[in-house]
């Protein structure tokens, strides 16, 4: 089913995190990017970076670390920390390679 991907292999994952909301009338920002960077580093980069995902980073001891599952896990790690009054997490995009990426917008129903 997975072809060459059954062998252990690495990617330089690139993650894009998008927020959506109204700029704060005083700061003109939805969220201070310095603060966003700290949240990203703490919630995602620190636990993931240079780790063997299958062994060292739950839930990937139980869940196949496909790029789809990684995008959802990153969403779940970030979403509770990005509930602003004026905005919130909108999308997580994970590039597995420059030619293949996954977008996750939270738990959307599979409507037709």
């Amino acid at each position: 089913m997975y072809g060459l991907a059954v062998n252990t292999h690495g990617h330089n994952y690139v993650v894009e995190v998008s927020l959506k909301g109204e700029p704060d009338p005083v700061t003109g920002m939805i969220l201070d990017l310095k603060e966003l960077k700290e949240i990203l580093n703490r919630q995602v980069v620190a636990p993931y970076d240079h780790r063997f995902l299958n062994y060292e980073v739950p839930p990937f001891d139980r869940v196949v670390p496909t790029t789809e599952n990684i995008a959802r896990d990153i969403w779940q790690r970030l979403e509770p920390h990005l509930r602003q009054e004026n905005g919130r997490l909108y999308a997580v995009r994970v590039y597995e390679t420059a030619d293949l990426y996954v977008d996750y917008f939270g738990d959307e129903p599979c409507s037709t």
């Binding site: 670390p65 420059a98 599979c110």
Partner: protein, 143 residues
């Protein structure tokens, strides 16, 4: 629901020239793109697919099946060709707008040959003829 995008590239040539306009009008409208000998692009095509996660594989789409479909219907059909000579452009100008619509339509028409189930579904096509000129169409916008 997950949205998976795969990127492909193929070279092709085209000439923008409408049979409904005079030579002068074509030249004024399309400028350099009306050059009688045509010109080439390395088209970059992004194919976006959406669907729920398969509970067994943990994936929303088998990218090898998508590659097979895109290779057959798009890359082998249009790669290294003169788009103006393609039967799909017999009546419409091979602008990248029309190319995006043709690619979307070809994939949509042949989708069930590799994806017979309800999911995944074709979501949209995005085509870049240069890094600055990019065209997109949603699959539900066309037949």
């Amino acid at each position: 629901m997950f949205h998976v995008t795969r990127r492909y590239e193929f070279p092709a040539s085209h000439r923008l020239h409408s049979s409904q306009l005079s030579d002068d009008e074509n030249s004024r409208l399309y400028g350099k793109c009306n050059n009688p000998y045509g010109h080439g692009h390395n088209y970059i095509v992004e194919v976006s697919v959406r669907g729920p996660l398969d509970p067994v594989s943990g994936r929303a789409v088998d990218s090898r099946l998508l590659d097979e479909l895109v290779k057959r219907e798009v890359l082998e059909r249009f790669g290294h060709t003169d788009l103006n000579a393609d039967v799909n452009f017999a009546t419409v100008v091979p602008t990248s707008e029309n190319l995006a619509a043709q690619i979307c339509s070809l994939l949509k028409r042949n989708w069930s040959t590799v994806f017979p189930g309800e999911w995944p579904r074709l979501e949209k096509i995005r085509i870049a003829e240069t890094p600055r000129n990019i065209f997109a169409i949603r699959a539900d916008e066309i037949e």
